[in-house]
């Protein structure tokens, strides 16, 4: 990153740091007892649980101020003002790739893991992640991104509105079935998009293999070898259990 750009970011960060340091001090003074009684013990300032956070807040404010001065001296503040009024706002290829990774991580951790069978959510995420970047074509990445985002929004509505609970009451593991259907549609959609390119078809097959096999191995190892109860054990893990106990 070039220096002026770095100082521009430093200027913004320094303001955030000063604000954060200030918040730490205000919060500590107002919420943590410095002299009052707590749990039957009369406090004095030097043993108060607020002493250390106040020190950290002060130091963060000090460092933020030093960083701010440096950023102003190196032209960071001026660059902030320049970019504030500039109209040029284009998403670069790298930014788009970054957004793709964030979408995958966020949906995996906050959307699927707490609600969907862990094997299924892992398999879906691996397939999406590998196909996004292994096929390595910007046009395909955009199409996959939009398709996956739309699917996730549908599930978000389903989960936030509580419809998934109702569906699961009507038919056991119906949410898992719906996510599995989404996985199959994603497979079909991606396969159709690359149908004319032999090299991409080979990569797609590898993506599918690398989404199914590691999910199976990892989940089987954690569940049956390390005896870790998984976040959500839905329909697929139930099938794995049947096989596991049939083999024993």
């Amino acid at each position: 990153m070039d220096k002026t750009e770095l100082r521009r970011k430093d200027f913004v960060t320094s303001l955030l740091l000063i604000a954060f340091g200030f918040f730490l001090i205000v919060y500590t003074v107002s919420e943590i007892p410095m002299k009052d009684s707590w749990g039957g013990v009369m406090n004095v300032w030097y043993v108060s649980p607020g002493l250390f956070p106040i020190c950290i807040g002060l130091l963060i404010m000090l460092m933020g101020s030093i960083l701010c001065l440096r950023a102003i001296k190196d032209g960071g503040a001026k660059k902030v003002l320049d970019t504030l009024f500039s109209r040029e706002k284009r998403i670069s290829e790298k930014t788009f790739r970054f957004m793709g990774i964030l979408l995958i991580i966020f949906t995996y951790v906050y959307l699927y893991i707490p609600r969907v069978d862990y094997f299924l959510s892992t398999m879906l995420i691996l397939m999406v992640f590998i196909s996004f970047y292994y096929l390595d074509r910007q046009d395909l990445l955009k199409k996959f991104f939009m398709f996956y985002l739309t699917g996730c929004l549908v599930f978000l509505i389903l989960f936030v509105s509580g419809i998934d609970h109702y569906l699961n009451q009507q038919f056991l593991y119906l949410t898992d079935v719906l996510v599995f259907v989404f996985f199959l549609i994603y497979l079909a959609y991606s396969r159709i998009l690359i149908r004319r390119d032999e090299a991409l078809r080979k990569k797609w097959r590898i993506s599918l293999l690398m989404s199914v096999l590691p999910s199976l191995v990892l989940i089987a190892s954690f569940k049956y070898f390390l005896l870790v109860p998984l976040p959500v054990e839905g329909g697929f893990i139930e099938i794995m259990n049947i096989f596991r106990y049939a083999l024993r």
């Binding site: 707590w38 749990g39 013990v41 108060s48 956070p53 460092m63 995958i104 992640f129 005896l227």
Partner: protein, 514 residues
């Protein structure tokens, strides 16, 4: 008697470990996994140790340490494979190795270069182990004299020095990272009065942030984002026939070996500074000391030997402050500290009393790990190089899944994942703006130590700060901390610059005579 006891502990552990088939399998398995992990560009020793930590929580302490040290030593060594064969260092620690390793491979000497790194890494680890065995018990005994006053400054010193030396852009960015780490450590109920701080009514935060998910988030998520965002691609690996131990070449460069090993151990013992800095400092020193510095960068054997000896010697060095003071010497050592905490081993001065054999057990395991790495390196180099063919977009998603399941499985809490992701993204942004990550995690680790000891010390002195300046060790640490801060101010820099200018003028006016 004490020394005899230590030697007995060392050999007892070596034989106990070597005679157990399970331990040997664990040792070789983790070393090979470590070499593979290190060889793959984008995967670091820190991440490897962190991910493996989550798998070892069901093991005995001894078995867990065999696994983790095997991974650590293997990964630091394995980084050289990428450097030599494809000119992409597998780990940051092996970046200096690429300077001469790849030119050697281009000349058709890839096998010899790998032989040199294998032998140099083995010697480096053994020297590090020797220093660990020699100094750790002494430092642990010395540290028993420390009180809360010294421990507060020691924790602060660790954060300051780690921040100061790892900052890529401005020194105080490292300190800011350390302060953010200290803030994260205050979340949850404080350890002296159990008062909830920054929990915002969330009962999940009452216990504080769990260390391992924070570590995995801070090191794993930025790595995944960076590799995928920047489209890291790996070229065709250079071919080679056999890897043989290169004792002849090494013996002719014994001075370089000794110097590099000492640099490695020394840098490793400084809190938070990792193998990468040790390798670069050693490489630079070897170049300065060489009779043929012009050969560096074109395939000089000294270059490869210097960086590989230093980065592996750093491991032993990094474990010294970890075990004796509870302050990790390098980022992978931070992960080791997390693992030790899981296994109810509290590193610090009390270790020699609570676990009198532990330091020697770690030394013995390090010795066995270095032998296992040497043997695996010689026998399996050709097979391991094949992993370089795996493209990053295929293995990085699997690393993400490992990070997630690893963070979750320690406390079986989904809440750990909710914390891991924002910390990972914060770490990524900080890294992209030149803030080092090591001080952040060291802040998280050392925060409770600084907090509790500050308040305990003030409790003892009834609120007086005077004892901080009347106790010799505390005073020395205080002076160093203040000096580190002042040396970064524009006033000091101007003053130092003027002083240098005066000296230079003085020399010019009175040139030295024969």
């Amino acid at each position: 008697m004490f020394i005899l006891q230590q030697i007995w502990d060392f050999y007892a552990t070596v034989f106990h470990t070597a005679l157990s088939i399970e331990n040997i399998l664990l040792l070789f398995g983790s070393v090979i996994l470590g070499i593979t992990f290190g060889a793959l560009p984008g995967l670091t020793a820190t991440l490897g140790v962190g991910l493996l930590t989550t798998l070892t929580y069901g093991f005995s302490t001894n078995a867990a340490m065999i696994t983790l040290l095997g991974m650590y030593v293997g990964a630091v060594y394995g980084g050289s494979y990428g450097s030599i064969c494809v000119n992409i260092p597998g780990t940051a620690a092996a970046a200096a190795t690429a300077m001469d390793g790849y030119p050697l491979a281009c000349k058709g000497e890839a096998g010899r270069a790998l032989g040199l790194t294998t032998t140099a890494s083995f010697i480096g680890t053994m020297v590090g182990m020797f220093f660990l065995a020699l100094f750790a018990p002494l430092i642990a005994k010395l540290a028993l004299q420390f009180t809360s006053f010294e421990f507060f400054f020691l924790a602060f010193f660790g954060i300051m020095i780690s921040g100061g030396l790892t900052g890529q852009d401005l020194v105080y960015k490292g300190w800011i990272a350390g302060l953010i780490g200290l803030f994260l450590s205050t979340i949850g109920r404080d350890h002296l009065q159990f008062f909830p701080r920054f929990t915002f009514g969330l009962s999940e935060l009452d216990g504080g942030l769990e260390v391992v998910p924070v570590l995995i988030g801070a090191f794993g998520i930025p790595q995944i984002i960076q590799v995928i965002r920047d489209q890291l691609s790996v070229g065709e690996a250079k071919k080679f026939q056999r890897v043989l131990p290169e004792f002849g070449i090494i013996l002719r460069r014994i001075k370089t070996i000794i110097r590099s090993a000492l640099i490695g151990v020394g840098i490793g013992a400084v809190p938070g500074i990792g193998e990468d800095i040790a390798a670069w400092v050693s490489y630079g020193t070897a170049k300065k000391a060489s009779k043929h510095p012009e050969m560096f960068g074109k395939g000089a054997y000294e270059g490869v030997i210097a960086s590989e000896t230093a980065n592996n010697a750093c491991i032993g060095g990094a474990i010294i402050p970890l075990l004796t003071l509870g302050i990790p010497g390098s980022p992978p050592a931070v992960m080791l500290l997390g693992a030790l905490m899981i296994h109810n081993v509290t590193p610090g001065p009390m270790i020699s009393i609570e676990n009198p054999h532990f330091i020697m057990e770690m030394t013995a395991i390090l010795c066995l790990a270095s032998f296992a790495t040497f043997i695996s390196g010689l026998l399996l180099a050709k097979q391991v190089v094949k992993v370089l063919r795996i493209p990053p977009p295929v293995f990085m998603p699997i690393v993400l899944v490992l990070c997630v399941i690893g963070s979750y499985s320690l406390g079986t809490k989904v809440f750990n994942l909710y914390l891991m992701v924002p910390i990972g993204i914060l770490a990524y942004y900080m890294q992209s703006m030149g803030y080092p990550i090591a001080p952040l995690v060291i802040g998280v680790i050392l925060g409770p130590m600084a907090d509790e000891n500050l308040r305990r010390a003030l409790m003892v002195s009834q609120g007086s700060f005077l004892p901080f300046f009347t106790r010799p060790v505390a005073l020395i640490l205080f002076i160093i901390i203040v000096w580190m801060f002042i040396s970064q101010t524009p006033f000091y820099k101007r003053f130092a610059g003027e002083l240098r200018g005066k000296r230079f003028k003085g020399k010019m006016a009175n040139p030295p005579t024969e």
